[in-house]
Subunit: 340 residues, 2 copies
């Protein structure tokens, strides 16, 4: 058979603040012949996620920085088109970390590199969202850090996003009051009407900590027991003002500070006076819990009780603009790039 050409999106320079298209470069490369144990995957969708912005910096982060002049990292779903590994057949649907490119060659025997998925009840793209890393992120922060009890009030920022939407729906399923924070009327309407949150606050209509704090007080008459933070900045400051004693805050993202100077926390003393727990996490460090999380998420998506939305860019060449838009909140739900 004729092996096709690959296309790859490289990071060629590090953004100083907001990324621009000039930080990326699209190249054509040949696909090497497979060695024993390798699999060639054709990517159907590429996942775009806020954590990628952190990897573009050279400084301290969860993981090593994205190298320059290398294919941008990223989660992918696709199909096996060639296989020299006994467990994978041509046509298998798989999820992996193929990066920003049309094809990837995977050493399929290494644990965690490639996983076959069942697309009878869950669409392939959902394995990058509600039944993938974002869904497990939501599940982990909620169940392992916030540990919600029925009747408690749980707040989540970026509530219409791939992670936030799952947090609120899982909280509702556990008998909690779920209150979202999202940017714009349309997203807030979706969060309440489609996802079933009790309330959603449009932070774009709030110009100060005081306004946001007042809106939270109104939306959370019993105070806040748990918070899932995807944004930071004045959202975190105002949530802390409304936190009950023994509130738990899961720190998942601080997208507000990804592009520039560190954003301070206004009143750390509240951690003490309200005896809060504030804890950061990264879901890839807790792989032992993924099977349990994915089982619940697949079940809920399969039976229709866990809903999600996708924004889909078309073609690898549009990935940089879609990623820049994601950091600005222009997406609605999970941001994907369709490659097939």
């Amino acid at each position: 058979m004729t092996t096709p050409m690959n296309q790859q999106m490289l990071l060629v320079s590090r953004p100083s603040a907001e990324p621009t298209p000039a930080n990326f470069k699209l190249v054509q490369t040949a696909i090497p012949a497979l060695a024993d144990g390798e699999v060639l995957v054709r990517h159907h969708y590429l996942s775009l996620d806020p954590y990628m912005r952190g990897r573009m910096n050279e400084g301290k982060n969860y993981a090593a920085p994205q190298p320059l002049n290398a294919v941008m990292i990223g989660g992918t779903v696709g199909e096996v088109v060639q296989s020299r590994h006994e467990r994978f057949q041509v046509g298998d649907r798989v999820v992996g970390s193929g990066g920003w490119q049309l094809y990837s060659v995977v050493q399929a025997g290494q644990p965690g590199t490639l996983r076959k998925v069942d697309t009878t009840r869950v669409l392939l793209s959902a394995y990058l969202g509600a039944v993938g890393m974002p869904g497990v992120t939501a599940w982990y922060g909620l169940t392992q850090i916030i540990e919600p009890k029925a009747g408690e009030t749980i707040v989540v920022s970026a509530a219409s996003g791939a992670v936030g939407g799952v947090v609120g729906q899982l909280a509702k399923a556990r008998g909690c009051r779920a209150v979202g924070i999202a940017g714009g009327r349309e997203k807030c309407d979706y969060v309440v009407r489609e996802l079933g949150f009790d309330r959603c606050i449009d932070y774009k209509a709030m110009k100060s900590v005081d306004m946001l704090s007042a809106a939270l007080a109104e939306a959370c008459p019993q105070g806040i027991d748990g918070h899932f933070e995807n944004v930071g900045g004045i959202i975190l400051d105002s949530v802390m003002q409304r936190a009950n004693a023994f509130a738990r805050i899961a720190m998942c993202g601080m997208i507000a500070g990804y592009n520039g100077e560190p954003i301070p926390l206004a009143e750390p003393r509240l951690i003490l006076t309200s005896r809060m727990k504030v804890q950061g996490f990264i879901v890839s460090e807790h792989m032992q819990l993924w099977p349990q999380a994915l089982a619940e998420l697949a079940d809920r998506v399969g039976n229709g009780s866990l809903k999600y939305r996708e924004t889909v860019a078309e073609g690898l060449e549009d990935a940089p603009e879609a990623f820049i838009g994601l950091l600005k909140g222009r997406n609605f739900g999970k941001q994907l790039v369709k490659l097939v």
Copy 2:
């Protein structure tokens, strides 16, 4: 017998920033006759503690504010001088919360009000320090929040104080490297030479987060795994810069911010990138653990392996000045007021 007159120190106005002697008023009052079940305690020592500053404010805090024109709250040790409760005899040494006064009438049957103590191996005053609330505070934050493992590096601020000194010594006993932060050369020498910490950093010699962060890097070559925070401000900021992945920070006090505007936390994003846990606590909410903590503390003080130091003011009239000095770090070790 002739009942003596009592002297009481009242809070008569709320400090706007630093407390001043004018916020307090000394009054003479009669001691009422005892009802059934009551005990009259003559206080030997009054404990002065940073938490009292928080109670002087009207705003949100752990507990209800100290009422105006009432006796200031506070821990006391003393002796029973009259008793109408079967479990207490004249001459018993007791620890309680008698407040800033020479005598207190206690309904001794209520749990947690009055506890008999053994002064054969532990001096009476230590029940206000290393074998009292400050010691249990150190024990709780270290063992229940920081959960140190042998070989880890534990940092504590206000290291020469009643709480901090115990934190470091208990950490050493658990096989950790203990690094203190204290104000001034003399306190730092004491922390290393007398208390046995590995290192102590003089924060008064450090004028910026960068300087303190560099000193911490030098004193903690393996980074920081656990931190016990009594101070806040730039100390907390610089510790967070040097924290290892999965570091635990026990938030016990933020004396740096007690007197004025909230002090922000410079880089909350580090909680996320270093997957830290930052948790506030107040030891009186964990009474079920006090017996276990007090047993270890009394044992270590009794056998000489847990050391402490006291600064003793003389007479109730000197309590306000001693308290103001405590907030400025003028004390050295546990601040007491001797009343007998």
